[in-house]
Subunit: 368 residues, 2 copies
């Protein structure tokens, strides 16, 4: 489980998807600039978000599930084992990968408003940047209202563009696409509500994580990718879930660890924000279960927006001393083993199976 | 142009669409309640918005453009002149009408955050109601942040549901659907930006109105409806635009008048809010052009969020005394005449043509 950066099976897909996204933005900027340059500002802001990074993990799961099916058992493209050439005749799988990245940009921009996050991928978040713009321009109105309004629209625009890239997906793939968006919004609602109401129990944390990570990031992209090749039967959908569910949980657990232990410049958002938002995590749930009286009073600070660096550090210290950090790392290891064991029975070509194994290792070992 | 409430061609379509929406919400509430009743709260909040009224105008334009094509010149259903029976075998035209209503709910819920509107259709707006909920429940966090967060999600959910109802639309109809959502977001962005930067010039007001009313409310629903029957050729799309563009402008102008002169209980939102937001309208643009010095200083209050009732009244008085109100009413009349003149050349069945004429009159004469 040692990874030297993302595997080639991820970076090659990412490059294709990035090219498609650049093309979309170039086309759209040209189209709207001609009518009114002010309209293009909202698209430029979105392009900044989309081009500022992101692992393109969802696009990779879409691609490899599609590829796994079209080359199985030794399909027409089995020769092209270590190239991505096979999909050049199927641009729509790249379109769908790009759609996931735009959907992710939509979710991030809207989540950042809800969490009032100041930075994302090392840049100011859209609502923060646009609030500052109102002030800098000397325009009328409340900076916060304007910043959040523009960010809502930039997210909505990304949602619409994402959907436009799904134009050629078959009905089976579309149904998965429809469902995952509903799961995404409902999962985020449960997250918000649980943080506000202080119901940070195990079961809730798991449910949020299932919607926002396991399903949205891994299971649904895989199922959708496989369905693009040909409508997937229930047995295949379940087999993909057997890989995607544990890996999705591992992904979320790693995310939670990076959120409190990570290197801010790599993670791209301030360490401690998850604690200030009172984000329900398994990490916090274990600490709450195990903490003694004095540790409980430190943990009670979770969800306070004014936590300073030393208070964040004290909470992280409780996470370590209660063994919550070790416990989460052990769980991540077990979950990756469980996911990898589910690869072999898949009716996928060998290259795709290798790719899924590499992606599983990467998800657990990444540092951003 | 005297209308005793909405015409039957509107109310019958509305009834079908409402039935479809109720069915969607019943299904979705049952599905998610079973998993976790908290998830259903977000859907219930959306259902309240969707069921709280709305004219279902977009659904009617979709329906009649579709019907106009399938019954032309005397199609298989020409007998059923005064019933809607013909579409019972085509539930997807009702789905698409319902999709437009969900898209409208999405746009309203998000716009209400951007404008910080307190009420909509006589009820508290989602962000206001949810902020109050946090306080009432004694939950943690900032009420405004929570209320706006939930409202963003309720809107996003509506956007996803809208799209799911487009599942059976053909590629030509989908392209129109994709474009109209981009136009909607960009139009709202230009609106927000112009209000903030104080660029309330004629051309900008017209452009915003074109996106948000002419295209989104009338032209695109008509073009999409016609495309559902069979992919529409450029000549038909242009012919529909010849009806929809002027009518869309009339719709916006009427909206602007109702926003300052309307009866609050009928319009469903506080009179004067448009002025407090500094919404760029042709009405205001005319007043700015014609106003004398002392009138200009009254108009300078437009865009101030703290305008009280007497200041709103003074601005409305300037709208009247400069002749801006009369000018807008005259323009509405001319635009409806222009729209109605564009109906006759349409390759539509007679009932559809009659419906489009009734809808044009209604748009201009409505009081809510």
């Amino acid at each position: 489980m040692v990874a030297d950066g993302p595997p080639a099976q991820l970076t090659r897909v990412a490059a294709e998807v990035d090219t498609r996204l650049r093309q979309l933005f170039d086309d759209e900027l040209a189209r709207w600039k001609e009518l009114d340059p002010r309209l293009a500002e909202a698209i430029e802001e979105l392009a900044l978000v989309v081009n500022s990074g992101g692992k393109r993990l969802r696009a990779a799961f879409v691609y490899w599930a599609w590829r796994g099916r079209v080359d199985y058992p030794d399909g027409p493209h089995a020769e092209a084992a270590d190239t991505l050439d096979t999909h050049r005749s199927h641009p729509h799988v790249v379109d769908v990968g790009a759609a996931f990245e735009l959907l992710q940009a939509f979710a991030l921009v809207h989540d950042d408003i809800m969490d009032d996050s100041a930075t994302r991928r090392g840049r100011p978040t859209v609502h923060v940047a646009q609030a500052a713009r109102l002030t800098a321009e000397g325009w009328k109105g409340e900076p916060r209202r304007f910043g959040e309004g523009v960010a809502i629209l930039v997210g909505d625009l990304s949602h619409a563009y994402a959907d436009s890239l799904m134009a050629e997906a078959n009905p089976a793939a579309r149904r998965i696409w429809d469902d995952l968006r509903i799961e995404l919004s409902l999962g985020q609602y449960l997250d918000l509500r649980s943080a506000a109401s202080g119901q940070m129990d195990w079961e809730t944390a798991r449910r949020v994580s299932t919607f926002k990570s396991a399903l949205y990031t891994i299971v649904r992209p895989l199922q959708l990718g496989a369905s693009l090749a040909s409508p997937a039967d229930p047995a295949l959908l379940a087999a993909l879930e057997a890989y995607g569910r544990p890996l999705g949980r591992a992904f979320q657990l790693k995310d939670d660890l990076l959120g409190v232990l990570g290197n801010e410049s790599q993670v791209g958002k301030p360490v401690g924000d998850d604690l200030r938002e009172g984000k329900p995590t398994e990490l916090a749930a274990i600490a709450f279960e195990r903490g003694r009286g004095d540790q409980q009073s430190i943990l009670a600070g979770i969800g306070r927006r004014d936590l300073d660096a030393s208070q964040v550090e004290a909470i992280v210290d409780v996470f370590r001393t209660t063994g919550a950090v070790d416990e989460i790392e052990a769980r991540i290891g077990d979950l990756v083993i469980e996911a990898v064991a589910a690869i072999d029975p898949l009716p996928f070509c060998e290259q795709a199976k290798e790719a899924l194994a590499s992606l599983a290792d990467y998800v657990a070992a990444r540092n951003s």
